[in-house]
Symmetry: D3
């Protein structure tokens, strides 16, 4: 069985029930999630061995984050303990013209303030086939950037394939700082996931103007961006999801993958949204699954898109779908008929 | 007032709240339901006298199933008590491309292991106008098949009209066994409800090829199936719902009825789904209501389709709508404007 | 900061959770709301000073209604205490072809039986810029009609702009009585909000025949009605929302405003409905906000329509949106992309 | 099987969850209950035939009250439909030194405004063995008092035993009016239940001074009151529960019955309270059960006290216990060991 | 009406429902609270004018904290906006031998990092009679200590009475730092509330050894501590609650007040605990209420103790009791009989 | 780190919320538990390595049971997949005189019908120090009895210490059959846990008559039973909890251990019960922990009793307490003071 390691932050997610707004809610649903943690859970659901690396505080809220991962079979034995707090994000789910809202309260988290000495990468990568991280991890702090770099180096040395999801977060760093740090990491990366906005903000790579809030998709522009990224960093693959935001309730969802020579475009799904947080992560994990298990390229892409279309129907950050459920959808049955 | 008797299994339904998946849920919503029980509740809501016949265990879970029926006015005085357990089904509600899932845990239920001596059909059918059962009941066990046969015979003898909803369940029996048992029952049946798949699986009656997961409807094929069924079994009416499964969230919903001479096609509703379990049962009860109260054929069909369109918006198996609510919809007001 | 006063009834709203029907619900969600109270909350959310005037009983349910308003910054210091009960309305939320249902239980409420002496309008309107009421308030009782008249007179005397939302409620009075009472109030009114049905029921003003349950909109007819209203009562503005009820789940939503010379038509939003109760009130408050802050007419209308489109996505009567959220939508971003 | 008829009001009960206060609660638990309705449910649970007589409005809230009774097997076929509203009571559950609070909103209910012509007592009492009402019913309105009188007369004529629970409610009438009306009814009564406070308020019958808030019990005083009541009205039995209110969480619970010759004192239970509303009604139904099934007097009393001790542990007005559960407790097993 | 101002931190409180442990909970109940905020809410409930001063971040979680206060009538117009986050505390409610647990996540909160320039004390204290703070506020940060000092000075200058609740929090500062900072503030304080442990930790004032976990109370020791505090700082009153912790479910609760001459001991309540967080604050507010409204000293103490006994039965930090409810208890009715 | 293996059934537990009775509940809380599974979770919480062995069906309900264990760190890699169903038990929580009720629906479960070939004991016990089972496992079916025997033999061969909790279940087998099967297993057992009732029912070992429902404890009798058991089976230790059932809400809780020479009696705790299911299992796990980590005998017993006292305060079957929480209680702090 293939083994995938990811490094990043897992946060306590506090979301209002139903479509309640923050100012009217008397309870929060509790979930735990974060880009790389979400990827591990997905891959465990598909049957791979996964290991999530982070640092959480030595108290029950930290432990609950660990438990959330263990529940779905992720190896948590290399999660460091200590630090002051677990990062938190508050989520209010939108509908129709009202957008979902996320309020971050993640500064000073245990992983943002973790030391290099908290992790032994030789041990962590022992037996691993793949390492994945997102642009959020190095953005957390200078220390976290250093930590990510060290992980990348160790992975490369040990022959582990490396993927990144650029995921630019403007609240965490500036484009300048992002560009500088991320450029230093890209040399270790084999597979890069990132949409046009990420590419532009992080690396200043421009494509033809597309107003993404309008939901129109320009495939040529995306391909152009992917080409530039490969030329600059030598990635094996560049992939991007193509979200068409009709409203907070309905999105078009597809993806494009470029392998340096050819561009693959997936089927498009019109998704009725239950919870879109983690949609990008579910795409990343689907793609990693396809590539690490050596599916044909188009199949890997279709698997990733179908998997992430399904994610949009599941509450919480985690994509709790099995491999056969994804396959049924890639084979064309999106009819939603009751499975008895 | 007309009186309708049904025989079948009522199960404990355990469903995850909202769109939660089984593996993430910490509570289950509790409902009770089953094809024939659902029909009784609907008909009671329309003002008829109804009696549901089954067997439930001598404990509080069994009693709760009885109470669920009494709450809506169904006569439960001929429900036998005893046996080991109440059948259970687990339900996870899908959305968009993710299908709803049902896990059955119904083997060894009290009704599946009931004895003929548990029921006195002379008394049960006293004053009854109509008897309804589904193909699920004889599928439960050999004993249940025998019991259904005995009920059919008694109904016929006492001049009670008999209807069946074929409802083929592949987890309960093979097409061969279903065909054999059901054929023996059909001679007592006046009104047969069943879609193409049921007809094919149970009686080997084929229609032109239609991929029902694609949601395209071929009315001619359905009519052809209906004709064959009438030729073979001498039914007075054959009816079928026509579900177009665009996704787990949106379906097209209409129906077709054939009286041996003419085929009636209903209006079609595009339904936004809250809970589609029991949709077929609500159609059956609507049709029974229309026929037993001697509505014109097209009106009976429209009543049945409108009633079952409304069912898709109601949580639980039961179709909790009043007669006037159905009539407002058949008269064309599906605007959903607030009723103050 | 501008200050708006409203007078009316605030009720205890008891709604079934999710899409449950009344007959199946074991708990009710508790909210408080009413046309004029809803307007105050909206305007407070936009940053204005607001004061709500009513009478509530001297017990905890009455106090809870007051608290619901204080929570969002409405001045409640002129709410009278006493009387027997707080009006109640029960709400069941529909979906698809099933309409939402409201059952009123509001007779004998404290405000319906309030005395003129419970309120000192001189003090109440001190510093006020605007006074708003709906046609529901004078419909509550003869005393309430008298009270409304007294408030209107005081407002006019003190130079306060007056707006009304006609809101005809057939359960509260007949068209004859409504016409008589409302006509007596209209001379004090500057801005009149009311759809064709209101105009016809209250003032016998007819427009070309439009079957509103069909959801087709006839703008010319609406303009014609508005013109007649202005000719008869001398309003400065007449406005109406234009709801296209496709189903209980989906509506088209736009509005039209006529200033005696020119007719302004807003952008139209297709709204996926979470809770449409209070939709009209959120339009009224948006329009009042636009007019009292002296936005250009078209902008005021667009603000009102965007604000009320957003209301349809928020549980409860109150429109809990901030000014900048409305502005983002009026500026064209209805994509519902996550706000991080 | 014995058959018991009761007449009274059934209300919508809205209670805050857990120990929340009214002013902090965002949802209410929904139950239906009322003195005489509660008695019917208890007796149905013990296996008797019961019929509840009242009037409820012609809408879903009224229907839900009916359904709540049907769920537990009460015959509701003589419940009249019509009128404006269902009475409501709000309940906040206390703890420790904080008392539970009830806010009534019951004026103008359908039963309070019912007509004599709504009920055909000949039919209602057909086959009945027992008729029970409480002092609340005649207190609702003059019409309700008249209705109660008519019911009592019909019961007497038809040889039906009559019991009353005095239940003085100071919010509904004055001691003077209560005394007058109740005295007129007592001649039809065989069994009278009422504590010292009731006897004093309604009939001016005094016992030695006992400060019931202190929770000290004076059995002699109670016996003295019972004796006076029997002398005055010729009851066959007078019974009273003896509540010792240590706090809102803990009560002592026992009862005393006097048969004109001898006084019977029950065992005392120290009850940890989950929900004490309906405690008195559960005593009344236990006593009726004991007497109508001709248990020895002491046994009937013990059954009533044990049954009502159990009621204190059950949420809602209804005493959802089976006969064998009461008997286990009367036989001495109050250990609360898990029943597997 | 008297006016009370308090300064401090209001936090988001996230508590597990029922008795769930952190590691098993899938939702958190949301409340807002903090020592001084709790005092304002209590005093508003008693009818006083109150103003709470703090700083909250410019987002919806910050706003929700403000709304929680407005809901109960606290003036929030001097709450500064800005900073990074709202402090959070997680609460798990214990039972029997299992203690409740609090996990603080309050570092870097807006109020801890507030500037002196955020507040204009002249305006804030305009018309004020009383100023209250706790030892938590100066412990939050050096800036917060400075801020508290400035507030105390302004209060003194403007003739406002000052009270403090020592409330030593070992996670926020050392005894040394606490002693130094608090000593500097005490010269402005008139009324000091603090138990033996506070006095020892903050000021090194020792009393005879009492093992408070054992729940035995040594009144003489407390009086001795109070005397020392008055000698050292010149307080007018020193008060302390006397908690006897039998278990997490049951406590003894009383208090002692010393006025420099005489020691007053309150009645003792045995409380069944629903939520003990905020118990001390409810005592402080009761005492402030008694003193500011010039009750006799013993009465003020009894009011404070009864009020805080009631708090133990109310979920959340706030003591949602009215003045008359406290008075009923001080007058001896702790029977918990239903208030109808 | 020590490693403990257990074998048994894990069931889906469906419990009514709060104190609701089965017949009134509209939702069930979902937990998973079973004697041996509960022991593993406890021991994982204390820091040991644990492995739970069972068989669950190949569907999401089966997987959820596995996830419940993984969440708390139990190794589930030797859980076999297949079979028809997961056993279920329904739980209603009692209060005061009303006992909790358990309805079992466990027949035909996957583990009851598992094959010997589903498990490889050599691998399973690799590195194990301790093996624990209860008398429930061999009672499930003949196959399960055989399986238990095989496990015991393998354990013995591999030098693994074996413990049993007798746990006689009258619904699963007769005393005769239990005696026969259990006697055959006892030769492999080192530590036996079982109360008087178990010893009597399973092995016919009598002690002096004690009516355990009365809650009086006779230590000498228990010691006598223990002695007989050791004489007959050669156990190293015999232990028993001593439950005094005052009511469903309050129990006395202590334990006794006999080592063949000396009898150790623990401290007694008066526990206020939140959830007593799993109380015995939490004692077993505490004792195993004490013995496997080689605590002095009295300490091991005190650890076990304190741990299980705490269990009574935690919802669900699992004892979610950490080692240090147990130690604080054994050291005498049962004051329940808030841990900040």
């Amino acid at each position: 069985m293939k083994k995938v390691v990811t490094l990043g932050e897992i946060m306590l997610r506090l979301s209002t029930p139903g479509y309640e707004r923050f100012v009217q809610s008397d309870s929060f649903d509790v979930n735990y999630g974060g880009g790389e943690a979400n990827v591990c859970v997905s891959l465990s659901n598909y049957g791979l061995d996964t290991r999530f690396v982070t640092k959480v505080p030595q108290h029950e809220i930290g432990q609950s984050a660990v438990n959330a991962l263990r529940r779905f079979g992720v190896d948590t034995s290399y999660i460091a303990r200590g630090g002051d707090r677990l990062g938190i994000y508050f989520l209010e789910t939108g509908a129709s013209q009202r957008a979902s809202k996320v309020i971050y309260d993640r500064a000073h988290s245990a992983i943002a303030e973790a030391d290099l000495s908290d992790f032994n990468w030789k041990e962590i990568f022992d037996g691993a086939d793949w390492f994945h991280f997102t642009g959020i991890t190095p953005a957390l702090s200078d220390k976290a950037a250093e930590l990510t770099l060290e992980a990348c180096k160790a992975a490369k040395e040990m022959g582990v394939t490396v993927s990144v999801d650029l995921n630019y977060r403007k609240k965490l760093w500036t484009p300048e700082r992002a560009g500088e740090v991320m450029a230093g990491l890209m040399k270790y990366v084999d597979v890069c996931i990132g949409n046009e906005e990420d590419a532009e903000k992080v690396f200043g790579v421009h494509a033809d103007d597309t107003d993404i809030t309008k939901g129109e998709i320009n495939h040529a522009a995306y391909e152009n961006v992917a080409k530039q990224l490969i030329e600059r960093f030598g990635f094996k693959y560049v992939a991007s999801t193509l979200r068409e935001s009709y409203s907070a309730s309905d999105n078009g969802w597809s993806a494009l993958l470029y392998d340096g020579e050819k561009s693959y475009l997936s089927k498009k799904y019109d998704v009725r949204i239950v919870d879109r947080v983690g949609g990008g992560d579910s795409f990343a994990s689907g793609l990693i699954y396809g590539l690490v298990t050596e599916m044909p390229t188009q199949d890997a892409l279709e698997f990733a898109v179908a998997a992430s279309a399904l994610k949009h129907t599941i509450p919480g950050d985690f994509n709790l779908v099995a491999k056969d459920e994804v396959e049924i959808l890639t084979q064309g049955d999106g009819s939603g008929r009751v499975q008895r």
